[in-house]
């Protein structure tokens, strides 16, 4: 169980938390016993239940500790199913959390929420500005995971989190897929889940990179041009995906761009396949910049940036217009920076006992 600290006022407690390195630098909600208990109750699980161990500190992520991070982040009880699922996702071995927290690369867990939890868990936005400010659920859920990674996992900038610069998504990095405005089946359905399931998909990802494309329906190769420019953003020779290979990446299509592809009769699988085909470099091209990573193979040898098209996660999000986003990844760690999916369990969460003694 947690130890409780005494403080005269919430202002004093806030300063203490800042000084102790327990915040992300922004003010937090003070995790009083009552506030933490309220979110623990919302999980429907006992406070000492372990979700697993978070590295690099190797501390156990109990429900109470996760709820503490969630209080600090400003979460509501409705947000807790996604927060719990996100923590469960990043502690899976395949996520390589310990290595990811310590790397010099700029990587942060991007949370992609699909299914009914998008509405039921506080209204997680997948529309205009979903990765920007203004959406409480997006901001609080992603921030709760970050504070858990700091205060349970022990990540401290320059001490145990060695990201050379980091990126703003390390404060919070959470959105929903805009399933209603997507011409494709939902991402989680593509990954084998039922449409009625709620799922969070997590990838350690770089900050979003904008990809501009002004579609023209009169062009026969409208979709192909879009795919080409997406591939340029996804795996240019500045990205780890191109240089190290083997990892995953995210393409967040705005609804207009998604429709360009759908009108060309391309589904999610076909889009990923074509992008994987386009994301290739010859050893000779790599040698012009990254001689050490290029190796000694013949310069004409072609290297794929992705081991498999399934490593390119495609979702539909944001407002319609010129800009989609790509998020390359780190591509290192024991499992090469794989994405993980975690079902969001909502039916085990109970009502808040407002009339209890």
């Amino acid at each position: 169980m947690s130890e409780w600290l005494q403080s005269g006022t919430e202002a004093e407690a806030l300063e203490w938390l800042h000084e102790a390195g327990c915040t992300d630098g922004l003010p937090v909600v003070i995790p009083t016993p009552d506030r933490v208990a309220r979110l623990v109750v919302a999980t429907g699980m006992p406070p000492d239940q372990s979700l697993g161990v978070m590295g690099p500190a190797g501390c156990t992520a109990t429900i109470e500790k996760v709820a503490t991070a969630a209080v600090m982040a400003g979460c509501l009880p409705d947000h807790m199913p996604v927060v719990v699922a996100a923590v469960q996702a990043v502690i899976q071995d395949e996520f390589d959390l310990t290595e990811m927290q310590g790397t010099t690369h700029c990587t942060a867990p991007l949370l992609i929420v699909n299914g009914p939890a998008r509405a039921a868990c506080g209204g997680i936005s997948g529309g205009y500005g979903a990765l920007g400010p203004g959406y409480r659920a997006n901001a609080s859920i992603g921030r709760a995971l970050r504070l858990a990674m700091m205060n349970i996992g022990g990540a401290r900038p320059g001490i145990s989190d060695m990201a050379l610069l980091g990126h703003p998504g390390k404060f919070t990095y959470c959105l929903a897929e805009d399933e209603e405005n997507s011409p494709f089946e939902p991402l989680h359905v593509s990954l084998g889940f039922d449409p009625s399931d709620s799922v969070v998909t997590v990838l350690g990802a770089e900050a979003p990179h904008s990809v501009m494309y002004s579609g023209d329906a009169d062009l026969e190769d409208n979709a192909e041009r879009l795919l080409k420019v997406l591939s340029i953003g996804l795996t240019n020779l500045a990205t780890n995906n191109a240089v190290l290979g083997g990892g995953a990446a995210v393409v967040a299509l705005n609804p207009d761009h998604a429709n360009i592809l759908a009108q060309a009769r391309l589904g999610r699988r076909e889009v990923a396949g074509r992008l994987a085909d386009l994301c290739r470099f010859t050893v000779g091209e790599m040698k012009t910049i990254h001689a050490g990573f290029a190796g000694k193979a013949d310069p004409s040898t072609v290297r794929s940036c992705f081991a498999d098209p399934s490593q390119i996660l495609i979702l539909v999000a944001g407002g319609g217009g010129l800009y989609s986003m790509v998020m390359p990844s780190w591509c290192a760690g024991s499992h090469r920076n794989q994405f993980v999916t975690q079902p969001i369990v909502m039916n085990e969460f109970c009502e808040i006992p407002v009339a209890s003694s």
């Binding site: 690099p56 190797g58 310590g102 022990g154 001490i159 145990s160």
Partner: protein, 76 residues
Amino acid sequence: MRDGIAAAHRSIPAVALVTEDFWEQGDFVALSFSMPGIPRVRLPHPIAGTGKVAMTHVAEAYIRTIVDALKGPSNE
């Protein structure tokens, strides 16, 4: 650090080579694995990308220290 700790866990003699900028992270990792005494040698930073001549110079300057760390304090 973690590679060195993993090797030590397998009873393989190991010494972690840690550059100056990552020394504090080494402290953190060693403590989190309850192995604060894991042998370490502090190298100048950076090493990566400094070129073969510079790296050879560092290797020659530190090889004795590394070997001594591998031998451990009981052999000193």
